[in-house]
């Protein structure tokens, strides 16, 4: 079954627990291919957050740490300080990274801690039923903004653009999208290499789809993702 999915995937936990059409799994597939390509399966430790990202706890055959909500970044920073020879990946959603865990993220970027943060942005808190999150764009309907997100709650939160201001000059910050998996994989590889070769902070935000909470089918999901990409530009930001 190895040519269906990345070798680093844990086949015993498949089919995984993500919803049909979940963007998490597309991003994790590219992360798996990136780990395979770099040959770092034995050297990697993956920290995961609360939210849909916690379903990754047995997703890979790599060492995995489950942390508290928003505390994935500081846990992996501490882990990396204790074990500098390991490769530390922090995997979280936009709620964990941009709401409750933002200060940890900014300071990790500011201190240039050599970890790689991968943040999945699907514009809502998906596990609890699709509530409004910082990244929800104006006028987008969620379960807690049934008439569309009011402008007084702010526009969509642009995390990478914020981190660019704080991060060290050696840091690597990028935004990718599940609509282009090959670019996503290459950016992930580049981010992990920035940790191993430059000993610096790296951050990749992945624009993702959430068909269940957006109440869209595959085609509509990718159409909405295309709209998102207009607001959140894709590519290397720093």
């Amino acid at each position: 079954m190895d040519n269906f999915s990345p070798k680093s995937w844990n086949q015993e936990s498949k089919p995984h627990l993500f919803c049909p059409g979940c963007g998490h799994a597309i991003a994790l597939k590219q992360l798996g291919y990136a780990i395979d390509e770099l040959g770092i399966q034995q050297k990697t430790t993956l920290g995961i957050d609360i939210g849909c990202s916690l379903l990754v706890w047995d997703f890979f055959n790599v060492d995995t740490v489950q942390t508290h909500h928003g505390r994935t970044t500081p846990v992996m920073v501490g882990y990396k300080i204790a074990k500098p020879e390991r490769i530390a990946l922090a995997y979280m959603g936009d709620g964990g990274g941009y709401a409750i865990g933002l200060q940890s993220l900014i300071h990790a970027a500011f201190r240039n801690n050599p970890i790689t943060v991968i943040l999945i942005n699907n514009e809502n808190y998906a596990m609890t039923g699709g509530q409004l999150s910082p990244t929800t764009e104006t006028n987008v309907k969620t379960t807690t903004s049934p008439s569309g997100k009011d402008i007084k709650f702010g526009p969509g939160f642009k995390g990478p653009e914020l981190l660019r201001q704080a991060a060290n000059e050696k840091g690597f910050i990028a935004r990718a999208s599940v609509s282009n998996p090959i670019q996503l994989k290459n950016l992930l590889i580049k981010a992990i290499k920035n940790q191993t070769e430059n000993n610096s902070f790296s951050f990749v935000e992945v624009l993702s789809i959430c068909p269940i909470n957006w109440k869209t089918d595959a085609q509509q999901s990718f159409a909405r993702l295309k709209e998102m990409e207009k607001y959140y530009p894709i590519g290397e930001i720093k």
Partner: protein
């Protein structure tokens, strides 16, 4: 009139519509003037984990909504059996989806099957299976069929996008209502989703689909540049239709495999 209380436990899988069934039945019973308590119980996942509903319908006041022994246990998924087992006694009547579940472990006398997945996928789509179960349960609980259907149409209103879909669901509902519950020994399910790997060969290409992993999200169909994929008749995980490949159109570009979130599809060129 003697006060009567019926305690029902519904167990299925997240995404199957278990909670929708409970919601519609409790709303209908409440409209009929009964006292109703309904407690949903499910895990953190929105899909794929056991989903249980505790439903109490009574002509008397309900003091406490949870219970230890159920009068009816409705089992809609094989994996939900273990969650229900501790609420059943030899007196419990068990109704289950005989097309996908084999409740051989239960030691009760009253056990009835309804091949809901099979009937629903043969008559409309596997998705409509909960409407069929509502129909069957409405007769069992002696709730008026017409009112139950109206409540179903009200709750699921938005999902019935056209009148045609609504009418077909009504037919499914009536089919469930009129279906005579099976009594049998039920040693194994009558209707099993596709298992193993489906391989297709031709035009110098080899296509493989793993139905056990496919959740029918439709991303491969949307992303295929050659439009070689369509939803077929075979069923995969969660009893949902899996894609079929037209190998004449396929260019083996690997896009579907690159996108598939579940690692369920692979198309290779053969030399």
């Amino acid at each position: 009139m003697e006060p009567t209380t019926i305690k029902i436990i519904l167990a299925g899988e997240g995404g199957q519509g278990t909670q929708t069934i409970a919601k519609i039945l409790s709303a209908t019973a409440a409209e009929e003037g009964f006292e109703v308590a309904y407690i949903p119980s499910f895990g953190v996942e929105q899909r794929g984990s056991p989903s249980i509903a505790f439903l109490t319908i009574s002509s008397d006041e309900i003091r406490y909504p949870r219970f230890d022994t159920a009068d009816f246990a409705v089992i809609l998924q094989e994996r939900a059996i273990s969650s229900v087992a501790k609420y059943t006694t030899p007196e419990t009547t068990i109704i289950f989806d005989s097309s996908t579940v084999s409740p051989a472990t239960f030691m009760t006398k009253k056990i009835f099957g309804i091949p809901a997945t099979k009937l629903a996928s043969e008559n409309l789509a596997p998705k409509s299976f909960n409407v069929l179960v509502i129909g069957a349960l409405s007769r069992l609980l002696s709730l008026p069929a017409e009112k139950t259907w109206q409540m179903t149409a009200q709750v699921l209103g938005k999902k019935f996008k056209t009148e045609d879909v609504k009418e077909k669901n009504h037919q499914i509902f009536l089919l469930g209502k009129d279906f005579k519950l099976e009594e049998d020994n039920f040693t194994k399910p009558t209707f099993v989703p596709q298992q193993g790997a489906i391989q297709m060969r031709g035009e110098g290409k080899r296509a493989t689909i793993i139905p056990d992993h496919c959740k029918s999200c439709g991303i491969c169909i949307d992303k295929c540049p050659a439009k070689a994929l369509t939803l077929g008749n075979k069923l995969g995980l969660f009893s949902v239709p899996i894609p079929e490949i037209d190998l004449k159109k396929c260019t083996a570009c690997d896009t579907c495999s690159r996108f598939c979130p579940d690692g369920a599809i692979k198309i290779e060129k053969e030399n």
